[in-house]
């Protein structure tokens, strides 16, 4: 059977031609044998010769050229855009929110882990702070799993995707955590977290259907709960306008204290300078076999509830220790 010569001089085209010739030569052979005696069936066709990933007939065997121009990965994240954003956001991170971490060493530097946190603020300020902090100090990307709603908004969707946002689909989470060993950040409260009004601050909403536990079990990765204090006060919601949200097809339409202070336009994007404190809890591993098709719903819900209670206790703990919203 044909093999491309090992000296690497064989180009794709000549190899192709040689293969065709050999096939023709074999043809005569086969015909002759079939005509005379009933021979055993032909040996199975060999696997196709492995050629370079980016095949170009004008290149030598083994030589590859990457035609890609940008650095956008399969999730839509671009390290280039991300580093630009880091440069812009860093002053805000350091001087506006004065983000303070506790226990960042509990986040692994290699391998997958599912980070979960409490979610707050009309336009949540916790996700960028967590993602920025980890990328800055641990030098590894964090993918933020979020509601697909972002994708429908022109401009925002693309920007969100380039900066590490991924639609929260179980397949996406599994691929990130299990196949690629990445860090994924998810807020199990979903939009129920950021849409709650100021009177409900730091009261965790229901943790979805416990899907995050199931994914972590299936991918065989730990869940690392992260408690964030300060994001609630950076953009507190006074009340919501459900009818406007319905017309604009938004998940919720908040009227925030920022709107009152900074006006309707600036107030939509400007945060109050509340001190953000982040505490990373111990990683939680599950003694469940990974890659199962289904997991017991009761175990999943129990685990999810346990993690929720743990996070709630930590939040109360941090709030008890906090003396000022603005200075921590």
């Amino acid at each position: 059977m044909h093999r491309v010569s090992a000296d690497g001089t064989d180009t794709g085209q000549t190899a192709e031609r040689r293969r065709a010739e050999e096939r023709r030569a074999r043809a005569i052979d086969v015909r002759a044998r079939r005509a005379s005696i009933q021979v055993a069936p032909e040996e199975p066709t060999p696997l196709p010769v492995v050629v370079p990933r980016n095949f170009r007939p004008d290149l030598d065997e083994g030589e590859t050229v990457d035609p890609r121009r940008g650095d956008v990965d399969e999730w839509g994240r671009s390290e280039h855009v991300r580093s630009l954003l880091r440069r812009v956001y860093d002053p805000m991170y350091k001087h506006w929110f004065r983000v303070e971490w506790e226990g960042m060493e509990k986040i692994p530097t290699v391998g997958g882990a599912l980070l979960i946190g409490n979610h707050a603020g009309a336009i949540p300020s916790d996700a960028p702070a967590i993602m920025h902090g980890i990328e800055r100090d641990l030098h590894r990307p964090v993918y933020g799993l979020a509601d697909y709603f972002f994708r429908t908004v022109p401009g925002v969707g693309t920007m969100w995707s380039r900066t590490g946002g991924v639609p929260a689909h179980p397949d996406n989470a599994y691929r990130l955590l299990h196949d690629q060993g990445q860090l994924a950040l998810v807020f199990p409260e979903g939009t129920k977290g950021p849409s709650k009004t100021y009177t409900d601050r730091y009261r965790l909403r229901r943790f979805g259907r416990g899907g995050f536990v199931e994914i972590a079990m299936r991918a065989g990765v730990p869940v690392i709960p992260i408690a964030v204090v300060g994001a609630e006060e950076s953009m507190p919601i006074l009340f919501r306008l459900p009818s406007v949200a319905k017309v604009l097809r938004l998940p919720y339409f908040p009227v925030t204290a920022n709107h009152l202070v900074f006006g309707p336009v600036l107030g939509t994007v400007a945060y109050f300078p509340s001190k953000i404190k982040i505490r990373v809890l111990d990683p939680i591993t599950f003694d469940a076999e990974p890659d199962q098709k289904r997991y017991s719903k009761s175990t999943v819900m129990d685990e999810a509830e346990r993690i929720r209670a743990l996070l709630q206790d930590t939040l109360h703990d941090m709030l008890r220790a906090r003396r000022s919203v603005w200075f921590g």
Partner: protein, 331 residues
């Protein structure tokens, strides 16, 4: 496809069928012209005792084709094909169908990679998608009803190549690529050569099942334009197709409805299942775009080169059957 099969001595006879004459020179393929819906296929199958039917005629592009014709080709054509292949006492052992990743649709809720069994999330809005889904449903039933037959379905991502005209390749040739303002989704391509090779791979190795076929990796739509040497032509996010109508009418762009969701949300398919069967791609997604761009540059400079082939039935018949022609060993 037929050209590749001709090179294989183990294939005893190849029978081509289509509505038009073949566009490439074929040495030993017998050719039959038929109507769009393959209504004579049953008789041909019975008469020739073929054991493999490769169905590559599904229309996955609604430009310049009416809804009725599309239905006729895709649904009724496949219906006739399956009826012929599944008839009692049929000689057919293997049915290979070339489908499209359009069956997954495209929506904001999609996973970044579709596996073969991932459920479609987007509502079915376009004719092409509807007819392809109908065809695949028929194939599923057919495979279940005829367990002794091998049924292979290949779902191809956007195909790029010099021999096939798709809306995207049409636009790249015109050097404009319609896009939707504010959206830059990730897309996948498969090179024509890999299309043929993958069809050959499942046909020859008799591999049953459904497979996604797409080059490795994904690239943003804007990068397709950069590599392909085209300019992006952004349309407003609302009623993009309506805005493109005058340009479409002038033949400057092709922008069929099934393309709209794709250039808004993109689509990715997981191809690991086909790779596990031993298939090796030659081109990545970006490589397919680059290869097309290079061919396109050449075409622009020297015109549509290559050996222009014109099918002339009488001449072909003479070459094939006349005892006066001295044939090669495989003639």
């Amino acid at each position: 496809m037929a050209q590749t099969l001709e090179a294989d001595p183990e294939v005893e006879m190849i029978l081509g069928m289509g509505t038009n004459e073949p566009r490439v020179p074929l040495e030993r393929t017998e050719y039959v012209r038929s109507d769009q819906a393959y209504s004579i296929l049953h008789r041909i199958v019975q008469a020739t005792q073929v054991d493999t039917v490769v169905h590559t005629f599904l229309e996955t592009n609604s430009v310049g084709i009416s809804g009725r014709a599309l239905h006729e080709i895709n649904v009724i054509g496949t219906l006739n094909l399956l009826a012929a292949a599944g008839a009692p006492g049929t000689p057919v052992r293997h049915v290979v169908v070339k489908s499209s990743t359009h069956v997954y649709g495209a929506s904001e809720k999609d996973p970044v990679w579709f596996r073969e069994e991932t459920l479609r999330l987007a509502p079915v809005r376009t004719r092409v998608e509807r007819s392809l889904l109908e065809v695949e449903a028929m194939l599923r039933d057919f495979a279940a009803d005829n367990p002794h037959l091998i049924v292979s379905v290949l779902r191809f991502a956007h195909v790029l190549g010099t021999d096939i005209i798709t809306p995207i390749s049409y636009n790249l040739r015109k050097r404009v690529l319609p896009s939707i303002l504010g959206f830059d989704p990730l897309v996948q391509f498969v090179e024509e050569d890999d299309v043929v090779r993958s069809l050959e791979h499942v046909t020859r190795n008799r591999i049953p099942g459904v497979f996604n076929v797409a080059g490795a990796g994904k690239l943003p739509w804007s990068e397709v334009a950069t590599i392909g040497g085209a300019h992006l032509l952004p349309f407003p996010p609302v009623s993009a197709r309506a805005f493109s109508a005058p340009l479409r009418r002038l033949g400057l762009v092709q922008f069929p409805p099934e393309m709209e969701a794709v250039i808004r949300y993109g689509r990715g398919v997981d191809t690991s299942r086909l790779i596990e069967t031993g298939f090796r791609y030659r081109y990545t997604s970006a490589g397919a775009v680059e290869s097309f761009a290079r061919a396109n540059n050449l075409r622009r400079t020297v015109g549509s080169s290559g050996n222009e082939y014109r099918y002339e039935q009488d001449v072909e018949q003479f070459f094939r059957h006349s005892p006066a022609v001295i044939r090669g060993s495989d003639g």
